[in-house]
């Protein structure tokens, strides 16, 4: 359901989504250690995944945090950027550099970090 809603929100949803997740972050008590803080899990991260954290941190800014997105959400967003179905930002240029399989591995890893402790 969440995935479906995300898809319906559609093309220019990143910024709106980021403010949504930002609001969520404020209302839900974040774990003391920071939900999306990377841990030793990065040692087993798939190619490209840790670079995402250069822009997408534990808290939303003008760029969305990925910490509270599901793997399916991230994978769908990457697919839409790759296929030109989203309003182009910098992400369409990056998403084109990863195959569907690579994108899925990255999405799975990023989503798994949300619950991890550093």
């Amino acid at each position: 359901m969440a995935t479906r809603a995300f898809k319906v929100i559609g093309v220019s949803a990143w910024v709106a989504l980021s403010s949504m997740t930002g609001a969520l972050a404020q209302t839900q008590a974040a774990p003391a250690s920071g939900a999306a803080a990377p841990s030793q899990a990065f040692v087993a991260s798939p190619p490209g995944a840790t670079a995402c954290l250069g822009c997408h941190g534990p808290e939303a800014t003008a760029l969305p945090s990925l910490a509270r997105l599901s793997s399916a959400d991230i994978e769908a967003a990457l697919a839409d950027y790759r296929d030109g179905k989203r309003e182009p930002t910098l992400m369409n240029r990056i998403a084109k550099g990863f195959s569907p399989e690579e994108s899925k591995a990255i999405a799975d890893w990023l989503a798994a970090q949300a619950g991890s402790k550093p």
Partner: protein
């Protein structure tokens, strides 16, 4: 009867060691030491991530604080305070990263040992070099350290940034600002042009009769068509760029006469900014890890320096193939390198990485443009993944440029948090 159990326990211990060396190594190379030299975007990230991986790491960095070059062009334009560029290593220290607040003086690669400027030595199993750049004060006649007090380089943020800002503030309306840009390779390929843009913004809003001249030692530069179009749109005739084939290469600096000399003539500057040729930071050159180009060739999978097993190089000092010398690239390389080093210490192979670069430039406070790239090892180099990457759309609406300016600031906030906490 006491002999037997003792003997058995000894044998058991020895057998356990012999039978499970892989396990012993994989669990915790608890005695393995990694030394990271340099606490910039590359080195601080790498030390932090290695520590998180359970690796014993010492960061060698003499400065108590790091002043970021990204966004320092906004300081020159009066849009930002230098203190907002300043970060400490307190978070790293709190997390448990050992920090040696001295300079690395020498590397003994055979003994795997770093000698520090206070005479102490640090043994390492693997060394990560992230020394950044050195400005070459021997490359451009007339431009030495003393000349940089007249024509600042401001290519390492800090006192030089403040000096250039003061000179811009003191300049009268109608003055001429001259920036000289070096040939490739150098730190932050779009940096000189972002700097020209933001200085032009300052001049337009406070000293509109002034001129800005860019003298360039090359004929093409990063995001060129976007910068060129934006200059015309935002600053009209105020900004003039002279490339190599039009005589833009500066051959000499005459600081006493406040003059830039090119093959074709002389240009007097009221405020001059010389961005000189560069090379890898001193320790990479003095230890013989940089090659004749002044930069360090690396293996694109492990980031190990060529012919230097055990020594990894990341960030601006490395020859990273298609990857530019940017803070984003340094941070991305650092994490991939930390992953490779951790696995290699466990006796495992480093995976073939994929790397990303993202670089925003501000042409005005509400006008951002970007370049991105994705890279992977190919033919011994980090190579652009075909079909990916590229620059912002030409002729995009103002809302897109404003959004990218916002993304730029968001990126800075997030990446400095990833690096420095």
């Amino acid at each position: 009867m006491t002999f037997k159990p003792t003997r058995r326990s000894v044998l058991t211990g020895a057998a356990a060691l012999a039978a499970t060396p892989g396990l012993a190594i994989a669990q915790a190379p608890s005695s393995a030491q990694v030394v990271v030299i340099g606490g910039g975007f590359a080195g601080a990230t790498c030390a932090r991530y290695l520590h998180r991986a359970g690796v014993k790491v010492t960061l060698v960095e003499p400065s108590a604080q790091y002043i970021s070059c990204p966004f320092s062009n906004a300081v020159l334009a009066g849009l930002r305070d230098l203190k907002d560029q300043t970060f400490t290593y307190d978070a790293l220290a709190r997390e448990g990263v050992a920090i040696a607040r001295v300079e690395a003086a020498a590397i003994d690669r055979d003994a795997r040992r770093v000698t520090l400027s206070d005479g102490a030595t640090l043994a390492y199993d693997r060394l990560v070099l992230a020394p950044g750049i050195d400005l070459r004060f021997d490359a451009l006649p007339g431009y030495d350290l003393a000349a940089s007090e007249i024509f600042p380089h401001a290519w390492k943020a800090g006192a030089q940034t403040t000096l250039l800002r003061r000179q811009l503030e003191a300049m009268a309306d109608g003055g001429t600002v001259v920036i000289s840009a070096p040939a490739n390779l150098f730190r932050c390929p779009p940096g000189p042009y972002e700097r020209a843009s933001l200085i032009a913004h300052y001049l337009k809003t406070t000293k509109p009769k002034s001129k800005l001249l860019i003298l360039d030692a090359k004929d093409a530069f990063s995001k060129q068509s976007l910068f060129t179009a934006a200059w015309k749109e935002l600053y009209g005739d105020m900004v003039e760029w002279v490339g190599l084939s039009a005589g833009g290469k500066v051959t000499e600096i005459a600081p006493g006469e406040k003059t830039f000399v090119t093959e074709f003539g002389k240009h007097r500057a009221d405020v001059g900014n010389v961005i000189p040729p560069q090379r890898a930071g001193r320790i990479a050159v003095s230890s013989g890890i940089a090659d004749q180009t002044g930069w360090c060739p690396i293996d694109p999978v492990t980031f190990e320096a060529r012919q230097q097993p055990g020594v990894h190089v990341i960030g601006d000092a490395a020859i990273a193939g298609g990857m530019p010398k940017s803070a984003f690239a340094a941070n991305a390389q650092a994490k991939a390198c930390a992953q490779a080093v951790t696995l290699m210490l466990r006796g495992q192979a480093a995976p073939s990485p994929k790397l990303i670069n993202t670089c925003y430039s501000l042409v005005a406070p509400d006008y951002g443009i970007s370049v991105a790239g994705v890279y992977q090892p190919a033919k011994g180099l980090l190579t652009d993944v075909a079909g990916a990457g590229g620059v912002s759309m030409a002729k995009a609406p103002a809302s897109v440029r404003a959004a990218e300016a916002g993304y730029a600031e968001a990126w800075f906030k997030t990446i400095t948090h990833d690096v420095f906490g």
